[in-house]
Amino acid sequence: MAHANDRLFDHQMAREFKLKKTRALVDKRMDLSDAVAQYVEDGDSLIETGFAYARGPMAAYWEIGRQKKQNLVGIYTPGGLNNLWHEFGGIEGAHVAYVGVEMRGLIAPFRRGVEAGTLKVFSDWSHGGLSASLRAAEQGMNYVASKSMLGSDVMKDNPYVKLGEDPWTGEPVCLIPAMYPDVAIFHVHHADKYGNGRVWGLSVNDTAIAIAAKKVVVTCERIVDTDDIRASAANVIIPWYCVDAVCEVPYGAWPGDMPGMYYFDRPLQEQVVRVDWKTPEATKAWVETNIYGTKNHYEMIQLAADEEGMNVLDYVKRLEQFACSAAYFGIGTWGTGGERDWKYEEVAKRAI
């Protein structure tokens, strides 16, 4: 089996793979654990979506760890929370534009893995460079030219990009090949059963990634009718023909942010990146309790609520209070303040 990197920029292979998938409207609903089992294969390249920890498919990343997937190649623009799995054999190496949590600092398992030489950085990129690579794939084009990365060591040490020249003016340009990750998992506000995915707020690189990736799993806060999707089509960022599986996962971005619905559990996230994952031993203990010790996302949320001595519903309601007003995102009754009862029932039903 060829290494994931050997097929990452293979334009022809990606085209053939993707065009073989059905474009018919078929019901793709399934459980998250089944979708991860079926579509995330050992040795795949897995690109993070959303803005990593903001509207990221966190439930799916935890499930990847729970199923002990092996030797994945991470692609991060940005990302890195699933670097956690490096110390469990899950992530072999990475293509990196950014791995960290901004003002809160670094992700310790990434840093110590790279410094020890066990986690390979296959290539460094800028955000603009890596997003251009995905945009080339979105265009169905072999490569694009960009002014990003010129003159820097990011470009010099990246084995995939090339220095070219504008054939009209002779100006130097950076030539960036189209990237085709093996698998991408998204978390969106709503999707229909065919996989049309709708968000409110920033779409980051998601449309390009959905089109570039060979296999696509969409997790969503709620599955809605296609008529509902048609009513706000401008918010649809993922078209059905890219999608292999649709999973209904309320609070699926927890403990991250879901625009207009719920905000980060800030103390929890800081505790995790600064303390719980600080050493390999601490990380192992955290994983034993929170991942191997739980059967799904809702048991994890229950543990976090227990830790704070809160009822699980009070806990999720508190995170909703921190979310910015849903009205400004145009979510209306779908955001905070609406459709809540259904979600609470789901959490109550699915938690321990």
């Binding site: 920890y53 903001a54 960290g100 949590v101 997003s131 060591d153 690189n205 942010d257 625009p259």
Partner: protein
């Protein structure tokens, strides 16, 4: 009588004054975002912020934790994509960007990737470029906010994550970067640095109250030029400090408690 302040508050207040009203700015979270929010509340109500995750001209209700979060997109005029933001910069529509970095050299080249002699085997690994490379390549004026010491201000950075003036005058253009863009100011805890027009080398332009040229030079690993006329930085005003503490960062995430 001026209120006392810490080094971070000083840097944020000084940085905020650089941002003209009516200009556009691409920033990340942390001190740069605090400076932009302060500028919007004081001198530059029509300063438009762009975040690399896709947010165009949001009205920030409070300090975002992430450039991709609910707050960063709050009341934006457009919620777009990472590609759209970088391409807006590439087209020349963004006046300023604010960056930090682990190392900076005399030409304003920045390293936020790794420490060590060999890229393949770093002694220390940092988060990587993120949008820094693109923003400093493509926005007109790059401002860096960083505390000053001789481990950060080095003769040669271990890795050029983000191009400054590269090897000197004309080098950016020769590499293909847009003409007329580049490093503009470095705001530190000791002084404001700028760049010499002829050589593109870093120079001292303004000393913060009580700081000497010798003290600045002691904290720098390369030879700093001097501007023709050295100024003294105006300390933060009571009004700046009040708004910074009460409205911009009331929880003290950036400025400390």
């Amino acid at each position: 009588m001026t209120t006392s302040y810490n080094a971070m508050e000083l840097m944020i207040c000084v940085a905020s004054r650089e941002l003209e009203d009516g200009s556009t700015l691409a920033v990340g979270t942390g001190a740069p975002c605090a400076a932009a929010m302060l500028a919007q509340k004081l001198s530059s109500p029509n300063l438009s912020i762009l975040f690399e995750a896709g947010s165009v001209n949001p009205q920030l209700p409070e300090m975002p934790i992430s450039v991709g979060d609910s707050r960063a997109g709050h009341k934006a005029v457009m919620v777009s994509t990472m590609g759209a933001i970088m391409e807006t910069c590439q087209r020349g529509y963004v006046d300023y960007t604010f960056l930090g970095g682990a190392q900076i050299d005399m030409y304003g080249n920045l390293n936020s990737t790794m420490i060590g002699d060999n890229y393949q085997e770093p002694k220390v690994r940092f988060p990587g470029s993120g949008g820094a490379n693109d923003l400093a390549s493509l926005c007109w004026k790059t401002i860096v906010i960083t505390p000053m010491d001789d481990r950060r201000f080095v003769e040669q950075v271990d890795f050029i994550t983000t191009p400054g003036y590269l090897t000197g005058k004309g080098a950016r253009e020769a590499a293909g970067l847009p003409e007329g863009t580049g490093p503009y100011k470095v705001i530190t805890n000791l002084c404001i640095l700028g760049y010499d027009d002829d050589t593109c080398r870093m120079r001292i332009e303004s000393l913060h109250p009580g700081v000497t040229v010798e003290k600045v030079r002691e904290n720098c690993g390369f030879e700093l030029l001097l501007a023709d006329s050295l100024e003294e930085t105006h300390p933060p005003t009571d009004e700046e400090l009040r708004i910074l503490r009460e409205e911009v960062d009331p929880d003290g995430y950036i400025i400390g408690r």
